[in-house]
Structures are given as structure tokens and as C-alpha cells.
Amino acid sequence: MSVPGFHRPATVEEAAKLLACTEGARCLAGGATLVAMMNASLAEPKAIVSLAGIGELSGISVLAGGGLRIGAMTRHRETAEDARLTGTLAVLRDAARQIANPPVRNMGTIGGSIAFADPAADYPPALVAAGAEIEIASASGRRRVAAEAFFVDWYTTALGPGELVSAVLLPPPRPGAGLHKKLARVSGDFAIVSVALSLARQPSGVAARIAIGGCGPKPLHIAEVDAMLTARLGDADTARSAGERLAAASDPVDDVRASADYRRLVIPRLVAAAVAEARTALEAK
């Protein structure tokens, strides 16, 4: 078989080498973004490195130590259906379940999604809330970056030339709850605003991690806001202040989905709703 410019390597290392050495090469994961851009003439890659043939990249596995490894080519459908994403990791499963619709969830992958870093995508804030790390592969080996450091700017990640996402690494799930609350025009659409919240049961109470999506170049996460919510999760005023703090720090766009002003108005309301829902889920356990 020979389609000029099309490559289907068998290993991550081969893929990384091809990416580094082939002019104008782009990785093909699920195709949900790249092929859509090609169809719209927004991308015209001279070469394509398909990751479909690389076994190592697919599936979710448990690591020694109890953490989880999600291969970059794992489809949203699989992530949405994996029961091991529970407790403090449930936020990620909830995010995957709300991406697009069933056929697109059969195609889209976590690696492809985060590599494109759409500011309104669902995984970025959920990965920050879940405390994930991103494993990056190149011809010279692997490195890891905290999710928060992986998303750098509008549609820009920490990936350098010749690098690709090989896996998402998660800490072991701990007792708790989490959700990904998304405001969108229709179900499955990109978020106008999204709130990713992960709660961990502690002996002393509950520890919260919250990140906002759709309101800036990358997921919005402020350690002090986590601390505010951790200290007084059940207090409505605290939830409102936390939301207002996040709204003040946000940098939303005006676009076809909503105005920047509207997004800033929504953030505190969505945060309050997310906190209330997550607390209910936690108490129900």
C-alpha cells in the first residue's frame, strides 16, 4: 500500500522520528480535529503520521502503585465507560461522557484532543482538577509534564517539534466525588464555560480542586481558590466568592458561542451549582 506522504508506524519511537524528520508532517490520532481542518482547508499537511497502528497507545491500564495510564489513542467512549475512573478521578470520566456525541466519541482520542488544546475543550480543565500528568514522547525518550504546565497558550501546548503525547497519567483514585459541569448551546457542543471539580475525602473534611474551561487560553486554576473551597465547602458565600475570584482572573473571548461578559457572569453561577452538586454526590456515598 502506498499513499505518498502517509505513514503508519508500529512504535512510538518510529512515529516521533518521522515527525521530527518529515517536513510538514502532522500526527493523526482520531481525525476528529485534523481531518475536519483539512476538509476546511485550514490544515494542509504534507505528510501524515497515523498513530492507529501503535498498540502501546491504546487502552487504560493500572500501574504499580495504583495510578492509571490512559494511552494517547484511547477513545472518549472508552474513557467515559471506565469504572476505574471513580472518586477523585470521576471528573475525568464525566468530562469524556459529555464530549460531542456517540460517533465522535468512537473516534476522538484523549491524546489528540489535548495536543490541539482547544480552549473550550472538556479534557483540559478535568485533567487539571484530577491532578493528571502528561507523558510526552520524542525520539530521545519520554518526559512528563503536569497537566497544568502542558496547556501553555491559545491552542498551544508544551509539545516541542518532533514530540507527541503518548499517555495521560493519573494518581490512584481516592475516595471522593467529582463532576464536569458544562454550559453549552446544545448537548455535546464545546463549552461556553465549564467547571471541573474534584473532591477528595480527608480525615478532616474534604479537599477540593477546581478548574475552569472555556474562559481563557488554558484551564484556569488558582491554588487559593482550592484552599477556600477546601476550608469551607458547605458555605454558599464561600462558593460564590470562589466563583467571583475565578471570574476576575479569567480571560474569555467574545465568540459565536457567547460574549466575554456573559462568560464572566456565568462562572460564579456555574461554580456554585457544581459545588452543590458535588457535595450532594459526596454525601450520597
Partner: protein
């Protein structure tokens, strides 16, 4: 620039360039025109086909990336009992107007019933959430999928 594909149970060699999608190849070379080009962005669902048994967007699938995959279009499900039941209820309950969305909807509905033989209304809505229809307002489509599920249960299928 030949790609070897498996379509509806048969081997088929097609000509494909780097940017040719499965949708283009199915319609233009294989003359399998059930899958339609609606938006070419993966949003509308009119191009939905089965790849390795699961609904995917043919417009977002590169033909070159399909070697080794099993592709099934609506034409390939002509004699499938669930599909025949769906087509019967769609016709009898008025779930088809212009018909443009219908092949994609039937593929999604078929997969839904394969995993959930007697789905509730909200499960049908979720299962078809990736297919847009501009004509019917969806009510009769949902009724037809529900009816196809029911008749299967009644027939003890």
C-alpha cells in the same frame, strides 16, 4: 495510491490521496451513496457509517488510514434483521421526509439497538444525539426507533 479496503464484506481497492476521506471514496469510487456529505465537519452525522462495528464519521476518516478496518455502510445492512425492522418502522411511522439524514440516523439507531434492545426515550435521544435532522423535528424518528425496539422484544429476538 491504492488503498485496500474491506467494505460490506468485500475487498475493494480504491485510489486515495493523502487528504481523501472515506466518505469521498465510498460515494465516488464505490458508488455507495447512502452516506451523505452534509457538513464535511463531523457535526451533522449524515456521513455516519460503521467502522469495525462502531458508528464513525466517514467525512473525518482518511481513506488511507482504513487499511485493515471493516467498513459497513447502510447498503451492507440490507438483510440485517434489526435494520429491516428499523426501515419498516421509519417508513410506517413517517420518520422520513427528505431522507438526507436517514442513512446516518439508521446507522446510529442500529448500533443503539444492538447494545440496548429496548431503549427508553431519553436513551434513544442520547443515542441519536450525533445526527441532525432539518425536516422532522425528531419526534417520529424517536417513535420509530422505539417501535423497532418493541417489535424485536415482541418477536422474542
Amino acid at each position: 495510491m491504492t488503498v485496500a479496503l474491506k467494505i460490506n464484506g468485500a475487498a475493494k481497492a480504491v485510489e486515495a490521496g493523502l487528504s481523501d476521506t472515506l466518505l469521498t471514496v465510498l460515494r465516488d469510487q464505490c458508488l455507495l451513496t447512502a452516506a451523505k456529505r452534509g457538513c464535511n465537519q463531523g457535526v451533522c452525522g449524515a456521513c455516519t457509517v460503521l467502522v469495525d462495528g462502531r458508528p464513525q464519521r466517514a467525512c473525518l476518516t482518511l481513506a488511507a488510514n482504513c487499511e485493515g478496518a471493516t467498513i459497513t455502510t447502510l447498503e451492507g445492512l440490507k438483510r440485517d434483521p434489526t435494520m429491516m425492522r428499523l426501515q419498516k418502522t421509519f417508513a410506517s411511522l413517517g420518520a422520513v421526509q427528505c431522507g438526507f439524514c436517514t442513512p446516518g440516523i439508521l446507522i446510529s439507531a442500529h448500533w443503539l439497538l444492538a447494545r440496548n434492545p429496548a431503549p427508553a426515550i431519553d436513551e434513544i435521544r442520547a443515542g441519536l444525539s450525533g445526527n441532525l435532522c432539518r425536516c422532522t423535528g425528531y419526534r417520529k424518528i424517536i417513535d420509530a426507533v422505539a417501535a423497532a425496539g418493541r417489535t424485536a422484544a415482541e418477536a422474542g429476538a
